[in-house]
């Protein structure tokens, strides 16, 4: 006996099976990302003032990625509609665009945004030594203005061997603009546009440093959350793209010849998943890039 309601709808529920299945799966995914987002919120609320970085992410690039994902959500719906209207070549072209958008998103993230972070260095200064590095931190100026203190000096690390070699006693850092000119009022708030490290070099003694790291997951609870959430999101984007490719290639799309409605249903299910992936990004973007 064949399993009923795979393509046709069951009369009393009005649903076909995979539709119920995908919504349940999306419910579980909401809880999954919800767990990560709640962790992020609690870690941020609990953070010591000055220990939570701001303005480290490239907002224009993030905005562009957001637009790309939203566009791909539109094109996947158009692809599904083309299938329902039995216009196969329109379907194929819309799928192509959708896949390209997904791939561009991943490339921007993995080949540009993340590596740029991994190259950046940050050192959190011990509380006792904050006075000594005042020229780079500008905490007196911040205190006058009622802003939270700066605890970190960041920029481009020149002597990488300092990270592992105990004989090297200090870090040589080409400072970020915010540390190169800390009392400039323009540097009080985070900048939207990414600014390169300056040429101004600072020497930071290792014994004054509470914790140092490149901008990797281990750097802070902020980067830990950022890389974990965007990493898991990226895996979901990759998964979606792979399924799209399957339905775009002949192996998946040949179902159109025998049962086009079934293919339309399958594309609808993936499309729903893709909308969810887009929705998660719409939460990630403001939380991490803007706030």
């Amino acid at each position: 006996m064949e399993i009923p309601y795979t393509v046709s709808t069951r009369p009393d529920t009005g649903l076909w099976n995979a539709k119920v299945g995908i919504w349940l799966f999306l419910a579980s995914e909401v809880m999954l990302f919800g767990g990560l987002f709640s962790a992020y919120i609690f870690l941020r609320l609990d953070a010591e003032p000055g220990m939570w970085p701001h303005g480290l992410l490239n907002v224009p690039v993030g905005t562009m990625n957001t637009a790309i994902l939203i566009a791909s959500s539109v094109t996947v719906v158009l692809a599904w509609a083309s299938l329902k209207m039995r216009r196969f070549s329109a379907y194929w072209w819309y799928m192509t665009i959708t896949i390209l958008c997904g791939v561009i998103f991943l490339v921007v993230k993995l080949a540009y945004e993340w590596p740029q972070k991994f190259d950046h260095f940050g050192a959190f200064i011990k509380k006792e030594a904050l006075e000594k590095y005042e020229p780079y931190l500008g905490n007196h100026h911040l205190e006058e203005k009622g802003l939270p203190p700066r605890r970190e000096i960041s920029g481009h690390l020149h002597n990488h061997e300092a990270m592992h070699d105990p004989n090297v006693k200090e870090f040589e850092v080409a400072l970020d603009p915010v540390n190169a000119d800390p009392t400039n009022p323009a540097n009080d708030r985070p900048h939207f546009f990414y600014r390169q490290p300056t040429d101004k070099i600072a020497k930071i003694e290792k014994e004054d440093v509470e914790y140092f790291s490149m901008f990797e997951p281990r750097h802070s609870a902020y980067f830990a959350s950022y890389f974990t959430i965007t990493g898991l999101h990226g895996l979901h984007v990759l998964g979606g793209v792979l399924v799209f490719i399957y339905f775009w290639l002949p192996v998946g799309s040949k179902l159109y010849k025998t049962n086009p409605e079934h293919l339309a249903n399958r594309v609808e299910v993936v499309g729903l998943f893709w909308h969810f992936v887009d929705l998660v990004w719409i939460f990630v973007f403001p939380l991490f890039y803007l706030l």
């Binding site: 006996m1 064949e2 399993i3 009923p4 309601y5 795979t6 069951r10 529920t13 649903l15 076909w16 099976n17 995979a18 119920v20 299945g21 349940l24 799966f25 419910a27 579980s28 995914e29 909401v30 809880m31 999954l32 990302f33 919800g34 767990g35 990560l36 709640s38 962790a39 609690f42 870690l43 609990d46 953070a47 010591e48 220990m51 959190f124 914790y211 790291s213 990797e216 997951p217 281990r218 750097h219 802070s220 609870a221 830990a224 959350s225 974990t228 898991l232």
Partner: protein
Amino acid sequence: MIGIQYGLCGLTFLFFGFSLMMLMRWQLAFPGQALPVIGNALGHFFGPGSMPDGKMTPEFYNSLGAMHGTIMIFLGIVPVAFAAFGNFVVPLQIGAPDMTFPKINAASFWAFGVGGVIMLTSFFVPGGAAKGGWTSYTPLAVVADKGAAFHPFFNGQTLWLVGFIFLITSSLLGAINFITTIIQLRAKGLTWMRLPFFVWSQFVTAFLLVLAFPPLESAIIMQIMDRTADTSFFMPAGMIVNGAPLHISGGGSPLLWQHLFWFLGHPEVYVLILPAFGIVAEILANNSRKPLWGYKSLVFSVLVIGFLSFIVWAHHMWLTGMGSTVSAFFQTTTLLISIPSVIILSAFFISLWGGSIRFNVPMLFATAFLPMFGIGGLTGIPLAFNSADLYLHDTYYIIAHFHYIVAPGTIFALFAGIYYWFPKATGRSMSEFWGKVHFWPSLICMNVIFLPMFLQGMLGMHRRWYDGGQGWSVAGDHTVWGQTGFQWNWWISSAAWIMGLAQIPFIINFFWSIRHGKKTKENPWDATTLEWTSPSPPPHGNFLTPPVAYRGPYEYSLPGRDGDFTMQDEPVQATERLRKPEPEPVHV
């Protein structure tokens, strides 16, 4: 078919987890002494850090404890109660040809297999299996199994986390399948309120799995990051381990792990008990030859339990200093959730009243479930108050409380279900005699094992301690029948080992009866629900013709019909007195 696969694997894991416990009980009864006969062999089997010269090391004891819990819950009970019984019985009871997503079902089974294999191999990596408890609390779970003697990734604690991801994925996929099948593939005429209670309980269990497991999955991902990428999701600043400060950023929160873990952890315990409720319901109705009392209240209660189970989790965290407002909230919801549980148990008891009770082996296990679960549930009430729990937390009282629910509770229900549905799966019945030989020692031993633990806990004996409680001050002070709290360990351990022996007749009975059991007719228990209309064992597609339901699931002893049961697919006849009879006309 997949139900049977899950069943056999799950039962094997249950027995393995049980054996781990039997090993632990040696250490508790005879601390520091070498295990005779097999001690040395086990020491070689589990590796150098486990049992040198047959004497258990503290690390190995902790591994046994952590893995016993993990294996019994996630590799034993959830696969058997939910996946095995669900996959086999639910489609039959709703008259469906199969589950809606067979390929996803297969994926779920293989994910379960991979997760199980990872968990088992974690025993054999350097350092042995996870030691941080089945709850894997941070910071211990993040710093454990690290250092020169351990592999950076293939160590017990990390493998536990990775294996768990597979197990969670398996449960999620399975649960999605169950819910969709129950919504979409019910037979014609089978409305929601005509579903057997077992199907309702599996339905709610599936929702608990879909919604509660993912936050734990996210927390596990974060703990893996903490262990492998040196992040500080759960690690506070300023930690010093083995005299050296840790090179981490800090800024994390151990309490965050506990919240995320118990957000699953509490619904998880309802996942363990609701299928058992369902099984017991079916068997009680069948063997008392009358309908379940209070079907609507049962359905309503199980839905309320499902909802409330999401908002009680912090009662596992009374000692974390959450503050009185938060504690008051969770104390209230915890007490509220006891109400539907009591309604369900009471409905079961009342269902027996006035019935023609026959005590076959499934009924023995099902009726034993009632007082055993009752003890377990009632002993939970003091724990709902954080004032009482201040004393009882992490003592043997807790161990006794939850084991009463899960061991003579759920596991007895599972045994009942196996004896009950074995004829459906194989076309043969298991031996009644050996079933009784299995039942009576198991029941007695369960109580000898767990009843004294309540007292041990109230005297203050701490759980997860390697020394059997010798270090606790009242170990020697109080005696019952001439035995101190510490000496009770000998009785408890002996009962545990005897209970292990009592499972042997069950195992032999089970496998022998598959080939040589007495052949049965299609409906050996004269039951009413739809699964008994299909051939035994069910063919591909489950039914020869699609069944149609005309009535409720428990039409036993229906007035106006021959025989004491009417199957669900029997059309309604005009002669049935489904309404109250007309009153006698009054003669003027």
